[in-house]
């Protein structure tokens, strides 16, 4: 079960952080009045260590360290149910994006390294070929997680059903695609 105990020490606050997250997400976090519709709508809330509505409150309060350590933004699948239901029009999934990206920018071990690793493998194949290569990203991720043996059966089932393209589809404008990565400082799909 997720833990929601109150911290025993008062958490340090960074009063400028809510504005930084607003700028990064493009969302007006301050409008949140804590109704909890996002939490009630979230298909992954039960697996999160901070519920979406509480995370919003924590951002409002500038509890930066607490929020940046949370696994919740790594479990958010951006299904946008919160976004279309929020009575204040806040796209909570975008706030999750901004918080996760802030935690990546800070460095250190990510709360859910396996999930991050999968997305990095995805982008690595886009960097390489211009298009995602599902076989390579699955194999790369699986190998990195030490799960190759467990995942092999799934891979073989897909190959047997002719569902995995083995050869990559190369985009002629790969250099243009790599320039997109470089513009964002994410060269090499890292």
């Amino acid at each position: 079960m997720p833990q929601h105990e109150a911290p025993t020490q008062p958490s340090p606050r960074d009063s400028s952080w809510p504005l930084a997250i607003e700028a990064a997400s493009g969302e007006r976090v301050r409008l949140c009045y804590g109704c909890g519709v996002c939490t009630g709508s979230c298909p992954l809330a039960h697996a999160m260590d901070i519920l979406p509505s509480r995370l919003m409150k924590a951002v409002q309060l500038g509890l930066r360290e607490r929020v940046l350590e949370a696994a919740a933004p790594y479990l958010c699948v951006a299904c946008e149910t919160c976004a279309i239901r929020c009575p204040n029009g806040i796209d909570v999934a975008r706030v999750m994006d901004a918080v996760r990206q802030a935690s990546l920018a800070r460095g250190g071990p990510p709360p859910r390294a396996g999930i991050l690793g999968f997305h990095r493998w995805f982008l690595r194949t886009v960097w390489m070929f211009g298009r995602a290569h599902e076989g390579l990203l699955s194999a790369g991720h699986s190998l990195q997680q030490g799960r190759l043996r467990q995942d092999l059966a799934t891979g073989l089932a897909l190959v047997r059903h002719r569902r995995l393209a083995l050869l990559p589809h190369l985009v002629r404008g790969r250099k243009e695609v790599r320039r997109l990565f470089r513009t964002t400082g994410k060269g090499g799909g890292r």
């Binding site: 697996a47 699948v77 951006a78 946008e80 149910t81 690793g117 995805f122 886009v126 290569h133």
Partner: protein
């Protein structure tokens, strides 16, 4: 519905449709062919970044789709999508490039010339404007279909999805006009957790199980989807979840275009039914005489 003069459509298949979603691409092409629609592929398109670019970088999530929009604009075409995730990303990028000066600046800095105005249309919206019932050569009557939208098709904040976010009807209309018996059920817009399927399979299996349970309860013969990620996730994880929920039989998951192509007279051999993990043929056999 359309105010601007319609430009020709160029198909943006997306990466999944060239791999795990290949039955989708085959059946999209067969559907278009049966309708006599000449739609070429967008030249040299790249990955839209789907569920991974926004995970690590907000700019990258706009720039990857933006290159495709720039190609479409240079060619004087609009974009036709089939994949729900690609559709979502292309629509959002198009919106942001117009609405955010920072996004437009990042695009210019990355060497992209995009001046706006490319329309991104999903195949369901295009088919919804055609009187399919007049073109049906093999009615889908007798097949009970649970239309499954998932997240991304209907939930594009600030831009609007292809239909109402809470109660979409567009797939029911399209398949209904092909004669299918569409069932009413809960779970049509529930998330299947596909992006966690590789990294948190227990969580994804749980979400898949809930969706399948609802479709079973409604008496569906199959689920129809417009998303290659949903299809793969629901197809692949059924082994894990059907046992858990104690279903008697697995539920085939088809692409809605496999059904439209069949109804419009395409040969079932060209629609990739043999590539499904959960056997589809019993459902299709009754029709494909």
């Amino acid at each position: 519905m359309q105010n601007a003069p319609a430009r020709p459509l160029a198909l943006y298949p997306g990466c999944s449709l060239q791999s795990t979603g290949s039955p989708y691409l085959d059946s999209v092409r067969e559907t278009l062919r049966a309708l006599g629609m000449q739609v070429k592929e967008l030249p040299d398109w790249n990955c839209c970044g789907a569920s991974s670019a926004h995970f690590v970088d907000a700019d990258l999530a706009v720039l990857l789709p933006a290159r495709n929009l720039a190609i479409a604009q240079a060619r004087g075409t609009d974009v036709l999508t089939a994949c729900a995730a690609c559709h979502h990303r292309l629509v959002q990028a198009e919106h942001e490039l117009g609405a955010s000066a920072e996004a437009a600046q990042a695009a210019a800095q990355a060497g992209l010339a995009y001046g706006g105005g490319v329309r991104v249309r999903h195949l369901l919206s295009v088919l919804d404007e055609i009187d399919l019932s007049a073109r049906v050569r093999r009615s889908l009557a007798g097949v009970k279909v649970a239309c499954y939208y998932g997240c991304l098709l209907v939930r594009v904040p600030r831009c609007g999805g292809i239909d109402d976010a809470e109660n979409p009807r567009i797939m029911e209309r399209v398949l209904g006009s092909c004669g299918a018996d569409v069932v009413e059920w809960q779970g049509r817009t529930w998330c299947c957790g596909a992006s966690l399927a590789a990294t948190a399979p227990d969580l994804a299996a749980d979400l898949v199980g809930r969706i399948l349970e609802q479709a079973h309860r409604a008496g569906a013969d199959c689920l129809a989807t417009a998303c290659p990620l949903c299809q793969l996730n629901l197809d692949l994880l059924q082994g894990a979840t059907s046992a858990r929920a104690g279903f008697e039989r697995p539920l085939p998951v088809v692409f809605f275009t496999q059904l439209t192509a069949l109804a419009l007279g395409a040969s079932p051999r060209r629609l990739g039914f043999g590539r499904h993990l959960v056997e589809v043929r019993p459902v299709i056999q009754a029709l494909a005489v």
